[in-house]
Amino acid sequence: MSALLSRMSRRHAREAPPTAALGIVLIAMGVVAPSFFSAGNLRDLALNNVAVMIVALGMTLVVLTGEIDISVGSQFAVCSVAAGMLAKAGVPIMLVPVFVLALGVLMGALNGLLIGMLGLPSIIVTLAMMVAWRDTLRWTTDGAWIQDLPANFQWFGMSPEAAQLMIMAVGVALATSGAWALRHLALGRRVYAVGADAEAARLAGIDPRMVKFGVFATTGMLVSIGAMLNAVRFSTVPSNAGIGFELQAVAAVVVGGTAITGGRGTILGTVIGVALLGAIGTALTYVGIGPFWVKAIQGLIILAALGGDALFTRLARRAHLPARAVVAH
């Protein structure tokens, strides 16, 4: 039992700090404001964060390969507005997600092409894309929101309760299948190998360019799913959707214990990261701290996560003893 525990703790050492932090926040809320745990609040918390979480799943893959994608917020906006425009143009509501999904994959694939195939730096490519998509959208919509949507746009025409359940179910399904894939698919192993040492991966017969292309395209797809699920919660689509999503997604990934240099991290960590940042945001409002402070405090948490990781790595390096002379069993 203790052996199992120690193995668990070693395997999940990187997720331990955010889990502990989440625990502290939840316990504090239990003492200070028990109404935090009302069913309604928990449901709102989940619904408000499911889109960020789905985007953060993609961001986890990107960061694991040692890259970053800061165009996810703009991609999110393009997908949201496209969903609204398609629905308004009379496309059947059940076909809208198909088109939006294709659009997301295309935008992600474009990033992947420039970064994976041409070897351009991801921070610059996605910065350019972030601005390009955002301004294309502004030019197309003149900044106007998409209104007068067909009645069956909101909640896909289902009852709100059923739709909300479905949205959460999709989120859970994506997170679990993502976690499973990273651990159990050969593809997942390749993502880690490329992030840990791209040249070593190449020498082992893995093509880092294809892997990077793949994670960016996958991220585009996940962004479009998140955007779709988010858009149908309302009766209008704001043209400024997804502002700041890139920061929130990167924050959740980093806080969740994924190394910003790539190669280490898990989906579980990212999910915990999203939960922690989401819970803190709501918790601060509950105890009466203004929304402007929320962002500042989230920023501090990101710094703490990065600093903690650097410290952890340094300590681990110091403790790097030569392996005990035990022949592998």
Binding site: H184, L185, A186, L187, R189, R190, Y192, A193, A196, D197, E199, A200, A201, R202, L203, A204, G205, I206, D207, G263, R264, H320, L321, P322, A323, R324, A325, V326, V327, A328, H329
Partner: protein
């Protein structure tokens, strides 16, 4: 001028240095007199580079003493070494490409505070003056990246002189120069010697040394073997001193019946990596040693065979069928495995576990419909780590925590899983301890016995001689010679590896002396 009467400016006494338990310098001693050119020779890995790094304070030494002008030196920083007048010029110039010649010279010589104003006119004049001293006609305002290799070297020497260098270390300065440029550089060296600058001169071009050096120190296995007057020694004597080592370790070489050719190269070349017209073959069960100096194109050839820098000339055949190897993936598909040099960097993924490293090249086989068979992966990791005797606390341990020899076994194990027909090993036992070394040698022998073809790059002549059935000597990107096991000796291999330089320079100096 009689060098023996000149004062000793630098004395190195019994200096030792080891990197992570691997001895680089065991006992190096020599002295450098004012106004002499002192040649330093030795095989790859004899300790020359380490000694230079110690003198320029790029690395710290473990034991022994270094004295400058009779006074023992404390541990220095690179900056202090420069201030004391010790400067090194490497084969690849270390200048700032995007800055002008005058700026580069100023960076090494001016000693101004961060806020002091730059006197551009003075800076330029100083550059002109220093460049004139090395006989270089170079515009001080040109960007360094626009200069050729030879001119860059002269700029470096000018910079060193500007910093009042009294001891100049030249590491293979002529290796990448044309004959005329090399000629000019040697003239500069002679002039500096006349000015009283002491120089340590490292070169594989032995003939060059006979014309430029006053004395020579031979290093072997990190020890000083001898210091001789250049006029008292012959070329063959030098080579004997450089290699003159008994085959100390016993190699587990067995005679294995050879099968059909697994790899055949015909006139293979790749312009980008400087390899041309390479032809030889490796048969099943055969170990072919690839010998030559560092920079002769051995690793580059291995990278061509593995598809990392695909060949653009000639033909490659695997198992008798012509193939085009354009990527590592296609090389692996043809049954080729490559364990690269410098495993700490790319042979293994340090941040992954032993198991994950062993399965990394075989993910395709281990995955059914994309899903990894984790149980089989574990079984394979157990099997191969046991076969190779990998010593690790657990198969889940990160490879970073293993010793060098065990990391190398993991790097090898990864490829054995793919059951390759041809195994290319680049310096398979470099920097690992004796025990692990002989384990890897036995393993290579077992694999050959099972019919695997092995191509082994090694800078260690005893290893090449002890393990190979045939030896391909490379020089300057092409094959200089192919020797059978029975006809190869250390002297012969080194003579072959050095041969072409010798021929060029013999004719060159013959012409120069007539003049």
């Amino acid at each position: 001028m009689n060098i023996a009467e000149e004062p000793v400016v630098l004395r190195v006494t019994n200096v030792t240095k080891s990197y992570a338990g691997v001895t680089a310098l065991a006992n190096a001693s020599f002295d450098l007199r004012a106004g002499e050119v002192h040649a330093l020779v030795g095989e790859n890995g004899a300790g020359k580079s380490t000694l230079i790094k110690i003198l320029t304070a790029a690395v710290e030494y473990d034991g022994g003493e270094i004295a400058l002008n009779g006074a023992a030196l404390p541990r220095l920083t690179p900056r202090q070494a420069r201030t004391l007048g010790i400067a090194a010029i490497y084969q690849q110039p270390a200048l700032f490409d995007q800055l002008t010649v005058a700026e580069n010279i100023a960076l090494g010589t001016e000693n101004a505070g961060p806020l002091s104003r730059i006197n551009w006119r003075q800076r330029r004049e100083r550059a002109v003056e220093l460049l004139a001293r090395v006989g270089a006609h170079i515009d001080p305002d040109s960007d360094v990246c626009d200069l050729g290799m030879a001119q860059q070297q002269l700029v470096e020497i000018a910079r060193a002189l500007g910093a009042n260098a009294r001891i100049l270390i030249l590491d293979e300065p002529t290796a990448s120069l044309s004959k005329d440029d090399a000629d000019n550089l040697l003239r500069v060296v002679r002039e500096l010697r006349a000015d009283g600058v002491a120089m340590i001169y490292i070169s594989h071009r032995l003939e060059e040394l006979f014309h430029i050096a006053n004395r020579v120190t031979v290093l072997r296995d990190g020890c000083t073997i001898a210091t001789l007057d250049m006029c008292d020694v012959s070329r063959n004597q030098l080579i004997r001193l450089m290699v003159g080592r008994e085959l100390t370790s016993v190699f587990p070489k067995r005679v294995v019946p050879l099968g059909a050719p697994v790899l055949e190269l015909q006139h293979v070349g790749c312009r980008a990596s400087g390899v041309s017209d390479v032809s030889f073959s490796v048969r099943a069960g055969e170990i072919v040693g690839l010998s030559g100096l560092v920079g002769a194109g051995r690793t580059e050839l291995a990278r061509i065979i593995f598809g990392l820098t695909p060949a653009d000339e000639g033909q490659i055949a695997v198992n008798g069928a012509k193939v085009r190897i354009l990527s590592p993936t296609s090389a692996i598909a043809h049954g080729i495995a490559y364990v690269p040099e410098d495993r700490r960097r790319h042979g293994v993924v340090l941040q992954m576990s032993v198991t994950e490293n062993i399965s990394l090249a075989a993910l395709r086989e281990l995955a059914r419909n994309g899903s990894l068979d984790v149980n089989r992966e574990h079984d394979i990791a157990v099997e191969y780590s046991r076969r190779l005797g990998v010593r690790t606390a657990s198969l889940r341990s990160l490879v970073a925590t293993l010793s060098g020899g065990n990391q190398q076994k993991v790097a090898l194990g990864r490829w054995l899983v793919t059951k390759p027909k041809l195994l290319v090993l680049d310096e398979p036992t470099q920097g690992i301890d004796v025990g692990a070394k002989s384990e890897i040698h036995s393993l290579m022998m077992d694999l050959a016995e099972q019919g695997m073809a092995i191509l082994m790059i090694s800078s260690e002549l005893p290893e090449i001689l002890g393990m190979s059935d045939r030896i391909v000597v490379m020089h300057d990107g092409t094959v200089a010679d192919v020797l059978d096991r029975s006809e190869a000796t250390q002297e012969r291999l080194l003579a072959r590896a050095l041969q072409r330089e010798t021929r060029e320079f013999t004719s060159f100096f013959a012409a120069a002396n007539e003049r």
